[in-house]
Every structure is written in structure tokens, then in C-alpha cells.
Amino acid sequence: MIARIVQEPVNLEELVRQVQRPECGAVGTFLGVVREPNLGHRTLYIDYHAYPEMAQKVMVEIAGEVAARWDIGEVAIVHRIGRLAVGEASVAIVVSAPHRAAALEATGYAIEELKKRVPVWKKETFEGGEAWIEGDSAAAPPRGPAGGARGKIRKGRSAG
């Protein structure tokens, strides 16, 4: 099992090599990449922040669930943090299995659970401002003594 938070670029080919097993005829892969545009803005880059100790622990848990629920060979879950440019990969899921159904289902399960449970956040910088993202929408501006926009544009949370 591979489950880790990394700073360096994600190397999908290397992960595929690491999870491949002779008895596995399928390798399911998922790569999440920084997209542009997002929410109507021209994205410049995204800073990924994590609570690393807990993120690592939850990723190990998800990998364990994958191994328990499906007949797989090996699973890798890697999340990159730090500043990522458009097109760079933030997350990779790779699952080898004897047959394709398990590899594909397990890969899908892992990314959905990762998004729900792994404590990672992104702060997007776009042309004209920046915003913390909450789920699939931008965060409301934080208020407080040191909060406020500090001259930067922040989006309100979009409906839904």
C-alpha cells in the first residue's frame, strides 16, 4: 500500500510500475489536475494545504478499505501539496487488480472518499484575486480581526 502526501510532482508512470503485479491484468488510474478556467476565472495557480499527519492517516484508511472491499493487487494514493500550476497533477490513484471491474471501481471509490475525508484545502489564485475553495465552490470571505480581503478579491460562495 502506498499512501502519502508529497511536495514533488506526481509521477504516474512510476506509481503504475510500483503497483503492478504479475497476476494483475488491470491497472486503474485516476489523475486529478489543476484546471483553467475555474468558476469563470482564469486560474493562475493553486496552493494546496494539508493537515499532513491526519491526511496521511485517512489516506491509509481509504487504501485499507479498498483492499478489504475489492480483489486487488496493490493500491497507491498520492496527494501533492504546495503550489501547482495549471495542468499539474494534484492527486493520483492507482489500483492494480486481476480484473478491470475491481480496478476501476476501487479507483473511483478512492478518489470520492479522498475528496470527502482527507484534510486538504486549496487556495486558488486567478486573474484579479484569490479564494479559498470549499468543496466545489469558493469560500465566503473569512471575517475576523485579521481576516478581511486585504485588497484581494474574494468570491462569495456560489449556490449549490
Binding site: R117, K123, W132, E134, P145
Partner: protein, 81 residues
Amino acid sequence: MKVRVQLFASYREALGKEWIEQELPAGARVQDLLESIETRHGLALSPGRALVARNLEYVGPQTALKEGDELVLLPPLSGGT
């Protein structure tokens, strides 16, 4: 009782610090902590979506707190893609 709370991401940025201390009445639960943080620190928590963890595990709003607890306050998650 007194508890320490570690902040992450937008919450840390909003208050400009990583740790805060909260004084709470005996018998306080996670929900009371969240309300207290909003009131005393003016931190706007996303209603019903802020997360709290203790010992690397998420804890629910009804979880009882105790003196000296170290908690982690997490904005709604946005990892992955």
C-alpha cells in the same frame, strides 16, 4: 475548562494564528466550542460544514470535551481535484 484549538487553511489565515485557546464551561461539547469560537474570535465558520478533529479523528458536534483537549478546527475540505 480550557482547550487548545489548532487552525488550518482559511481559518488560520483569517485569524492570523495557528493556535487559539478557548475557555468553556464544564460539560461543553464540540458544538459549544464552535459557537464560542464564532462569538469570541469573530471567525465565520461555514454553517454546519466546519470540521473538528481530535487525535487525528473527526469528532461530531455532540462529542464531549475535557480540560486540556487539543482540537483541530478544519474548514470544509477541498482536496483532490
